[in-house]
C-alpha cells in the first residue's frame, strides 16, 4: 500500500501537432472548450490515429475511457462518434471526434484498446453506428430482437417505429400485444 504521487498534467497542445505530423491529413479540426481539447479526425484514418496516440511515448494514451455516438437529423453528417482518451502515465486527456455521412461505417478500435468492445457495442445498440471490423457487434443493452436504436433523434419516445423501420413490424412480443389492444 503506497500513496500514489500527484502527476502534474502535461501540456497537450504539442500532441495535436505531433499527431498531424505522424498521420498526415488525419487532423481535420481542433477545438478547445473549458480546457478540454477535441480533435476532429478523418474517419478513414481513425485506427492509425489511435494507434499512434497509444504508442507515441509522449502521448501514451493507454486507456480508452468511453465512446459516445450521437445522431443528427440535419447537417452534412449523420453520426458523430467521440472517443474519450486518458493517459495514465502522462495524466492527460484528449477527445477524438469522427463524423460519419449517412450509411457510413467507422472502423472499430478494438485492435488498439480491447475495452472498446463493449463500448462500441453499446453505441451500435443505442445509436445505430456500424463499427467495421468489430469482433462481436451484437446488441448489449436492448433485447436482441429489438428493432430500433433508441438514442437516434428520430426515435419516437411515444413508441412508434422510426422512419428507418417504417414498414418493418417490430419483433418484440410486447409490441404485438399493444397493436391488438
Amino acid at each position: 500500500m503506497v500513496a500514489g504521487p500527484y502527476i502534474e498534467p502535461a501540456p497537450r497542445h504539442d500532441l495535436v501537432k505531433r499527431l498531424g505530423e505522424a498521420v498526415p491529413g488525419a487532423v481535420l479540426d481542433v477545438a478547445e472548450f473549458r480546457g478540454e481539447i477535441t480533435v476532429v479526425v478523418d474517419a478513414d484514418r481513425l485506427v492509425d490515429v489511435c494507434r499512434h496516440l497509444k504508442e507515441d511515448p509522449d502521448a501514451a494514451f493507454e486507456m480508452l475511457n468511453t465512446v459516445v455516438a450521437m445522431h443528427f437529423i440535419e447537417g452534412d453528417y449523420e453520426h458523430e462518434v467521440i472517443y474519450q482518451l486518458y493517459s495514465l502515465s502522462k495524466n492527460h486527456r484528449l477527445r477524438l471526434t469522427v463524423r460519419l455521412k449517412p450509411k457510413e461505417a467507422v472502423s472499430s478500435v478494438t485492435s488498439v484498446w480491447a475495452g472498446a468492445n463493449w463500448l462500441e457495442r453499446e453505441q451500435f445498440d443505442l445509436v445505430g453506428v456500424q463499427f467495421r471490423g468489430h469482433p462481436d457487434l451484437r446488441r448489449i443493452i436492448m433485447p436482441e430482437d429489438y428493432p430500433d436504436h433508441p438514442l437516434r433523434k428520430d426515435f419516437d419516445v411515444e413508441g412508434g417505429p422510426t422512419s428507418a423501420d417504417a414498414d418493418g413490424k417490430p419483433a418484440s412480443p410486447g409490441w404485438r400485444d399493444m397493436e391488438h389492444a
Binding site: 503506497v2 500527484y6 473549458r34 478540454e36 495514465l88 484498446w113 463500448l119 443493452i141
Partner: protein, 412 residues
C-alpha cells in the same frame, strides 16, 4: 501495510493444476446464472461454460435494468435530471449527484463557494463508505462469512440516518444543485458526523480482525480472480479494481476536483490483482475516507452555499413568499430551467466504483443534446472473463463480489 499471505500466489490465472488432471476433464456443460441470482447483486446474467467445477468461458448479458436514462436526459432540463442520477449507482447516490452536477457546472463555467465544496466532499466520502460497507457485507456473505454482514449493515444504518437528516431521503438524495446545494447543513449534523468519524474506525478494526487474517477468507480470496494490470488498463477498468492490480490511479489525486488536492489521504494499491487485493484496497479506502471526513469537519467554512446568480439558483423561500421579483425568478427557474452555452464537456470524479464520468454535448438551450454516462461498473464487468476463466465455479462468486458491479449504473 504488509499483506499477509497464506502461500505464494500462483504465477498464472486460476488455481494450480496437477499433472494428469486434464485427463479427468470430460464433457462441457453450459450453466445459466442469473439474471436473478443472489450472488450477482442485481440483474446480471452470466452464461457459464463449465467443465466439471472449472469455468471454461463466461459470457455476461446485461441490460435487464435499462431505463433509458441517457434518452430521458435529452427531454428535460438540467435540474430535472438530478433525481435520475440517484438511480445509477444506487449504493452511492450522493456521489452520482455530485458527478453529474459538476459536469453541468463545467459546461456552465461555474465554481461553487468553498462551503459547498467542503460539503460535497463530505457527501462523496460518506457515499464511498456506505457503498464499500455494502460491498464488504454482501461480499463476505457470499463467501459464507455472515457475521460481517451484520456489522456493516449496522454502520450503514447510522450512515443512512446521517444522509437522511441532510437530504431528506435515505436512498434518493438529489441533494446538490447546479451552483451549490439544495439546502444547508441541518443543526447538529456535524456533531452526528463527528461521532460517526470517531466511532467507525473501531468497527473497521473489528471487521479487520474477522476477515483479514482469517485462514478461510484468505484461502477463498488469495490467488483467485487474478486481473493483470495490463489487461485492466486495456479494458479501461478503473477504481478499486484497477488499484488492486497495483496501478495508483485515483481521479481525486490525478485530476483533483472540489479541492481534493488540499486533503491528506493515501491511495491504497494492491500488488497481485486478486480478490484479496481488491478486498484490502477497498478496506483501506474506508479508513482514508474517514481521514478525509475528519479534515472536512475541521475546516468546514462559514459562508454561502450557492453562487450568486439569480438565473440559476433558486431564491430563498421567505423572499419568494414576500417579493414579486423573487417569485417570478423561482417560477421561471422551475418551469423553464436555465440556458447552457453550446459546447461539449467530460467531467469525471472518483466514485466508489471507479471513474464516473458524464459527457454532455450542448447545442445551447435548457437540456443536453446528448448526455452519456461513463459508468465504472459497465466497464469493469468486461473484465469478468479475464478473471473467472480457468477458476472454479465457486470462485466466480468471489470474482463477482470483488468486482462490485451495480447494475443500476451498468444498464442505466
Amino acid at each position: 501495510m504488509e499483506r499477509p499471505d497464506l502461500h505464494p500466489a500462483p504465477p498464472g490465472l486460476g488455481p494450480e493444476t496437477t499433472p494428469g488432471e486434464d485427463a479427468l476433464h470430460g464433457e462441457q456443460m453450459v450453466l445459466n446464472m442469473g439474471p436473478s441470482h443472489p450472488s450477482t447483486h442485481g440483474v446480471l446474467r452470466l452464461v457459464v461454460t463449465v467443465d466439471g467445477e472449472t469455468v471454461r468461458a463466461v459470457k455476461p448479458y446485461v441490460g435487464y435494468l435499462h431505463r433509458g436514462m441517457e434518452k430521458i436526459a435529452e427531454t428535460m432540463t438540467y435540474t430535472q435530471f438530478i433525481p435520475y442520477t440517484d438511480r445509477l449507482d444506487y449504493l452511492a447516490p450522493l456521489s452520482n449527484n455530485v458527478a453529474y452536477i459538476m459536469a453541468v457546472e463545467k459546461l456552465m463555467g461555474i465554481t461553487v463557494p468553498p462551503r459547498a465544496q467542503v460539503i460535497r466532499v463530505m457527501c462523496c466520502e460518506l457515499a464511498r463508505i456506505s457503498a464499500h460497507l455494502l460491498w464488504l457485507g454482501t461480499g463476505a456473505l457470499d463467501l459464507g462469512a455472515a457475521t460481517v454482514f451484520f456489522h456493516t449493515f449496522r454502520e450503514r444504518e447510522t450512515l443512512y440516518n446521517i444522509i437522511e437528516s441532510l437530504t431528506g431521503g435515505r436512498l434518493t438524495t438529489s441533494y446538490p444543485r447546479v451552483g451549490g446545494l439544495g439546502r444547508d447543513l441541518p443543526a447538529g449534523w456535524t456533531a452526528t458526523v463527528r461521532s460517526f468519524v470517531d466511532s467507525f474506525p473501531k468497527v473497521l478494526d473489528e471487521i479487520d480482525a474477522l476477515l483479514t487474517g482469517n485462514t478461510i477468507w484468505m484461502q477463498r480470496t488469495q490467488g483467485v480472480g487474478v486481473l493483470r494490470a495490463s489487461d485492466a488498463i486495456a479494458l479501461g477498468v478503473t477504481g478499486p479494481n484497477l488499484r488492486g492490480c497495483g496501478v495508483a490511479y485515483d481521479v481525486r489525486r490525478t485530476e483533483p476536483y472540489l479541492g481534493y488536492e488540499t486533503y491528506e489521504f493515501d491511495v491504497p494499491i494492491g500488488g497481485q490483482g486478486d480478490v484479496y487485493d481488491r478486498y484490502l484496497v477497498r478496506f483501506e479506502e474506508m479508513r482514508q475516507s474517514v481521514r478525509i471526513l475528519d479534515q472536512t469537519l475541521r475546516r468546514l467554512p462559514e459562508g454561502p452555499i450557492n453562487i450568486d446568480d439569480p438565473k440559476i439558483v433558486l431564491p430563498p423561500k421567505d423572499s419568494v413568499l414576500q417579493k414579486m421579483e423573487e417569485l417570478i425568478q423561482q417560477f421561471m427557474i422551475v418551469t423553464e430551467g436555465f440556458e447552457a452555452p453550446s459546447g461539449e464537456v467530460y467531467h469525471a470524479i472518483e466514485a466508489p466504483k471507479g471513474e464516473l464520468g458524464f459527457y454532455i454535448r450542448s447545442t445551447g438551450g435548457k437540456s443536453p443534446y446528448r448526455l452519456h454516462i461513463r459508468s465504472p461498473s459497465f466497464i469493469s464487468l468486461q473484465a469478468i472473463e479475464k478473471m473467472a476463466v480457468g477458476g472454479l465455479v465457486s470462485d466466480l462468486i468471489a470474482v463477482i463480489a470483488s468486482l462490485d458491479p451495480v447494475m443500476g449504473e451498468v444498464d442505466r
